[in-house]
């Protein structure tokens, strides 16, 4: 059988994120069981589900941090699972990732954290880079505390800095892993508002993994509810509300 051709230049008309029949196991545990998803340009899809249903794994597969057992992932039409590292890195530059605990580099200051991707992938002069870092931090409401270490700022502030870092290279796609997990309700809703504001300003395509149904409703165009490694239902919040499936009803009520 001839090897399938790898589409290297992508397709500008293709959906920014497309997942086809994706499966992933860890040992004997099947985490994802052939899921398929598609996110249109400028849209936000929230993937909901109970803890341990493979939501975060899905994001790590999209960015190429893990390899799927089977299935395909397309980012702007490029099959990322088959790309060599060099080309995968080019795709990664177009995708921002906000990790669950922000994952700020703890030996670097807030400013250095946001400057890190700029230093690595742009030719900006020191002064231009500093200016850009201040702009990014201001856009997430963090224009002070530039010289503080991540350990010296709160969880909500870490998420903001993480978001500024994810936006540093002007990504076309943003992946959010539990953006409001561990935050108090007020800070969580501030982060949600910030995400909505950034989406409106930058028209970024987003995939949000969360178990916070209220936040997901605020920031998403569509929602997908996962159960046991499969997509149980996908649609707007209204579509989910109309469902008679006991799990969907319980999930919407329980949250």
């Amino acid at each position: 059988m001839p090897e399938p051709q790898i589409e290297k230049n992508g397709d500008k008309n293709a959906p920014p994120v497309q997942v086809k029949s994706l499966s992933k196991s860890f040992g004997r545990q099947k985490v994802l069981k052939g899921i398929s998803l598609e996110v249109g340009a400028g849209q936000t899809l929230s993937v909901l589900g109970r803890s341990g249903t493979g939501k975060s794994v899905l994001l790590k597969l999209i960015i190429g941090l893990q390899k799927p057992d089977s299935g395909s992932i397309f980012v702007h039409g490029e099959e990322v699972t088959k790309l060599p590292v060099k080309e995968l890195n080019e795709v990664r530059k177009k995708v921002g990732f906000l990790f669950q605990q922000a994952a700020l580099y703890d030996s670097m200051t807030v400013e250095e954290n946001v400057a890190f991707p700029l230093r690595r992938h742009t030719q900006l002069s020191d002064s231009d880079r500093k200016k850009r870092v201040r702009e990014l931090l201001a856009s997430v409401g963090m224009d002070g505390d530039l010289q503080k270490l991540p350990s010296d700022i709160s969880g909500g502030m870490q998420k903001r800095v993480g978001l500024a870092r994810a936006l540093a290279l002007d990504p076309e796609i943003l992946l959010f892993d539990e953006p409001t997990a561990g935050l108090d309700p007020i800070t969580a809703s501030e982060i949600d508002e910030l995400i909505v504001k950034l989406q409106k300003e930058r028209h970024i395509t987003s995939v949000v993994v969360t178990h916070d149904i209220h936040g997901a409703r605020t920031i998403s165009d569509r929602l997908a509810l996962m159960r046991d490694g499969e997509i149980l239902i996908e649609g707007t919040f209204d579509d989910l509300q109309k469902s008679r499936d006991p799990f969907v009803v319980q999930f919407l009520r329980g949250c």
Binding site: K60, I63, L65, V85, N89, E90, R92, K93, V95, F97, F99, Q100, Q101, A103, L104, Y105, D106, S107, F116, P117, R120, H121, R165, L169
Partner: protein
């Protein structure tokens, strides 16, 4: 019944003990063989012993699940752990070599690590070297006086320090400081997803984090060995002068009279290998840590234990090799 700990017959503490027993044994053999004679007999005694230590310590440091059902099961599990660890380290080295020799090169991070390692290790290495010089002089002097050969003391001290004590003590001190530091730092980055974040930003963590630290360890070790040698010899003179005054110039002259580059260079440059071992083991243990805070602690401990042990094992082989290649 499965438990989350090292095999019952080999605890981390015992593995630490093995390192020091092996160190003492190694030093004893070397000292017993005088200035440069290291016979194949001593190598034959030490090789299997140290291999056993390596086997036991790797298993103790890496084992996560051990069946206490019986000794055969335990031995089987320990063997599997050892070969699994060894295979994974080999794969890690393969990735590392690919990353290290392809651009972009991380000069800035390398110099940062080089500076960090050097500036923080110099005081420790100097102190350890000085203490070694004093102890070596006092204990050797006593023996030489008994045999009426105290005139040989400067030469014995200089030879012992530059050929063996300086390199091995430096490597062990650095492995204690740097391996723990690198292992715990990278492990903390791994469990808090910082390494994933770096990879997601299209930066190769093998190149940025591991290759820079390993190269810094490799290149810094010979320099630190020179520091240790200097303080060892100087304090050797001080200790000798306290018992029987002798000028520094005469001590140096007598000490270095018979020293050639073949005595000095291979012994000093073998620490490149020690640095490689410290760097690779600490980076591997750190970047493969799992399990939160406990995982960080485990990575730091296993980095020190394994690095120290492999340094001693490598020393036995390198001393043998140096004697063959530079007779």
């Amino acid at each position: 019944m499965c438990i989350e700990e090292a095999p019952p017959f080999i605890s981390d503490g015992m593995a630490d003990g093995f390192v020091w027993v092996a160190l003492c044994e190694c030093s004893r053999k070397l000292a017993a063989n005088g200035e440069s004679e290291f016979t194949s007999d001593s190598a034959m005694i030490l090789h299997p012993t140290l291999l056993m230590f390596a086997f036991a310590a790797v298993s103790a440091a890496t084992a996560t699940t051990v069946d206490r059902g019986g000794i055969i099961t335990n031995i089987g599990q320990v063997t599997i752990d050892f070969f699994e660890w060894f295979g994974n380290v080999t794969l890690f080295c393969g990735r590392l070599i690919r990353a290290a020799f392809t651009p972009p090169y991380e000069f800035r991070e390398f110099f940062h690590q080089f500076d960090e390692l050097g500036s923080k290790s110099v005081p420790l290495v100097a102190l350890a070297g000085a203490a070694t010089g004093v102890v070596l002089t006092l204990s050797t002097r006593d023996s030489l006086v008994r045999f009426g050969a105290k005139g040989f003391l400067p030469a014995v001290v200089v030879f012992s320090i530059i050929k063996e004590s300086g390199p091995i003590i430096t490597a062990l001190v650095v492995s204690g400081r740097a391996a723990a530091g690198i292992g715990s730092e990278l492990a903390a980055m791994k469990v808090s997803e910082q390494i994933d974040a770096m990879e997601a930003s299209a930066v190769n963590p093998y190149r940025y984090l591991a290759a820079t630290r390993i190269l810094a360890c490799m290149l810094m070790l010979p320099l630190l060995t020179l520091v240790s040698d200097f303080f060892g010899i100087f304090m050797g003179w001080v200790a000798n002068t306290a018992a029987e005054p002798i000028s520094l110039r005469l001590f140096i002259h007598d000490g270095f009279k018979s020293v050639t580059f073949n005595d000095f260079l291979p012994s000093t440059l073998k620490t490149l290998i020690f640095g490689l071992l410290i760097g690779v083991i600490a980076c591997y243990q750190g970047m493969n840590a799992t399990g939160g805070t406990e995982g960080v602690e485990r990575a730091a401990t296993s980095s020190v234990v394994l690095a120290s042990l492999f340094i001693i094992l490598a020393d036995v082989i390198l001393v043998h090799l140096i004697l063959v290649l530079f007779p």
